[in-house]
Subunit: 475 residues, 2 copies
């Protein structure tokens, strides 16, 4: 689980050597530690907009809440006065090349592109990023905000808003040094629901998430979070596959964020499961998710807590063989654990109303489910199916009525015991094939799940977000 | 434009050397040559189905039309009798491992998955492909047919149909030797519209297209094609950027398929343009697509032919720089040529009704538009915008009313003068990073465009199909 190449490339000697032969030096990524005294963002944020952006008011509200130091870019639009009054603005951003302060520490660039209504107006992206991108600090953040193309009214507007994806993904590949770039589409009426997303994407919580497109929809009233250091306080989460690796990290992060965790894993892993549950002051529930009585046992466990707020379907297995060499048992096993069991469990929990209102279902897909993989027909089918499950259930009237969201993470190369078994050369190559030039950590997946699970993440449903450091691999 | 690595790796000595050091040996891909005497598919097709598939009748009709030799797989469903009566079936497929004929030349595997209604039924994929995939000949074809998930009625069905993507993309990476795998979603009522797509995907026309998802929708009456060796006979096409490379190939293929071609390129390339037009017995129309009067000149040229049936927006440029180093002129130029000009031209042609009923608009996007690229913010924004343009216009009432479709190809690494300028090592790496282990040829893009342009491709609208040999690179 240690990346020896990364350690070497960041040592005094190694750093020189990898530079000499032209190999990348993976940046050390900043990661989140809850700290009441530390600001969420350590540095200034430059805020810009194409015209008088529709999302600025909401953005300014969140930035004021996190006490961010905000600099304005470009000709002063109307909102700057209001922001100044809120005590938010400290000044204008002037590029060092035009006499601005040298070495000003810019930690995030936030650009509201919601007013871009046709392709010729896309030049506003050039104006903002051309000026600012050089000043972005290491592990900096870029967020472009737009309107969901599918909700726009004219073809020209749809085209221009869809074009933002090309900007985000290219920027992700240009900014390097641990910086990330994301595109957040906010539907009309959903402006009040952006706080949890901005907090996640601006902070080190999203260390290994880059070049993603997030959609925030709906006009549900945002659920208030009293304490952002404990956003899940008072909530109950059920997590499967927690005895090790990513699952253990998910349980830990949800507990850290305040949730009581019901920890599920197979009876064979009962000792490790008990250890995790004990450490987190949670509840151990040993069971095989594919067992006939598993859904009912999980319903009972949920009901014993007065219902659950969050379920994370993390349990998953691989049984790799090419299709020509794959016995049917291996197919059935993988589809059953990774997909069919989740369908049965969701249906049982929903039928029993064991998931509370404003509840959260979080699934785990995979890059293999998006791009396919040699020797993984069974796994890729199950993980592509998870995407279908998220798409279909997110629009189901039953979930909408109860305010229950469903989303998935799609991990790329994450450092676990599983990936540690891959031969060194292949592992190193896989680690380097992304914009972070390294594998992710289990906590990166867990933080992304915690963002979906947050009670304030109302309106975030049907999203599949990759945790892959912008892996080259895709479809 | 020659791939020296491929030539070397396929030579007697080179083949041994690359084998020794573990480098891939790129297969020589079969490509299409119109030939009245040759069958479209040289070898047998194995046909299978999950239950009594809803699409089999339509598939059998097309296979009979191309005089394919079809073998049935699995327990005999109802349709086998009917197919036998149509003179289609010659027998059952029995895997060599179970006593079937050794060395039987199987050129295509076609599987109807439309009846898969939930995840546990996905095992039908295992049964079919586990048995058959070893028998697939080089440059063989795999086609999985399903129902568009977004049109399915239950979450379980959506999930299972969406899961087919994982199968297709994994198979694409497993079958190698120049074989391709595709997923075709056919909406209810659109069964009659699959002929042009099956002909394209089964034949060598789709040599460099793999792991794609195609949607056939609508219940428009299929347009009859009298002669499939000249499917565009009597039609007029306008193609931009034809003086060289991919554009020249597009004009050639459309002319080969029977169309009269209006050839557009910038006045500076007038000599090459005239040469192409002369060779194809077409019309040369030198103009800059970004000129203020370009749309009206193109309308006039179209009207002089009594309207056009096809417009291909191929003209495109790159001006690569990182955003920090990019002058605004380079941004504006690329967005204008690759995106805004096309919007203006489409609007003018549609307003003047210069595109005939059942017309075709075909655009050129790019893998950079999907995945983004370092140093290509302008290009990626323009090409992502093209995807938005296709999405939005395909659902526009104006186009639907007139039966006009709009689609895009998204080329990967295609061998042209442009890519020939890339240094050898990077070029070789880029060529190998796809399931064909080689770059594509301009004709591969042209054939894909000719499929979209076919008058029988009714109901194929809003598709973005990559011509990339299943490049690893994606989003």
């Amino acid at each position: 689980m240690t990346d020896k190449y990364m350690q070497f490339a960041n040592s005094t000697l190694g750093s020189k050597l990898v530079g000499l032969v032209g190999l990348p030096r993976p940046p050390v990524l900043e990661r989140y530690r809850p700290d009441v005294k530390a600001p969420l963002i350590k540095g200034s944020i430059v805020l810009g907009s194409a015209g008088n952006g529709r999302l600025l008011e909401a953005v300014v509200g969140v930035l004021a809440a996190i006490k961010a130091n905000v600099l304005a870019h470009g000709e002063a639009p109307d909102w700057i006065g209001a922001a100044n009054q809120a005590g938010l603005m400290t000044g204008r951003f002037v590029p060092p090349a035009r006499g601005g302060k040298q070495g000003e520490r810019i930690k995030a660039l936030v650009f509201d592109a919601s007013r871009i209504n046709e392709s010729s107006q896309l030049v506003a992206l050039h104006r903002f990023f051309h000026d600012t991108v050089r000043s972005l600090d290491r592990c900096g953040r870029v967020i472009i905000l737009g309107r969901p193309p599918e909700s726009c009214s004219t073809p020209r507007q749809i085209t221009a808003q869809r074009a933002l994806e090309g900007m985000t993904r290219s920027l992700g590949k240009e900014i390097r040094r641990g910086c990330t770039a994301q595109l957040v589409y906010v539907a009309e009426g959903a402006e009040g629901n952006i706080e949890s997303t901005l907090r996640f994407l601006l902070s080190p919580r999203s260390a290994y998430v880059s070049a993603q497109v997030v959609r925030i929809a709906g006009n549900a009233t945002p659920f208030p979070v009293a304490d952002w250091l404990q956003p899940l306080a008072g909530q109950t989460a059920l997590v499967t596959g927690v005895s090790r690796g990513i699952g253990a990290s998910i349980a830990e992060v949800l507990a850290r964020d305040g949730a009581k965790v019901i920890c599920v894993d197979v009876p064979q892993a009962e000792a490790e499961l008990a250890a995790v549950a004990r450490k987190l002051d949670g509840i151990a529930l040993p069971l095989d998710v594919t067992a006939a009585d598993a859904p009912q046992k999980m319903v009972a466990a949920a009901q014993a807590q007065g219902g659950i707020d969050i379920i994370v379907h993390n349990a998953g297995i691989t049984r790799d063989k090419t299709i020509a060499n794959m016995k049917q048992e291996l197919w059935d096993l993988v589809i059953n654990v990774n997909l069919s069991a989740q369908e049965r469990i969701n249906d049982a929990l929903l039928a029993a109303e064991a998931i509370k209102r404003n509840g959260r279902i979080v699934c785990v897909s995979s890059i293999s489910g998006i791009a396919g993989n040699l020797g993984q027909t069974n796994y890729a089918v199950s993980k592509a199916g998870v995407i279908g499950m998220v798409n279909s259930m997110s629009v189901s009237p039953l979930l909408r009525e109860r305010g229950i969201t469903i989303n998935a993470v799609a991990p790329g190369f994450i450092e676990t015991q599983m990936t540690d078994a891959i031969p060194f050369t292949i592992r190193t190559a896989a680690r380097l094939m992304n914009s972070m030039n390294q594998g992710g950590q289990p906590i990166d997946v867990a933080e992304t799940i915690a963002w979906f699970a947050c009670p304030a993440s109302t309106g975030i449903s049907g999203n599949v977000v990759r945790v892959c450091g912008q892996s080259l691999i895709g479809a």
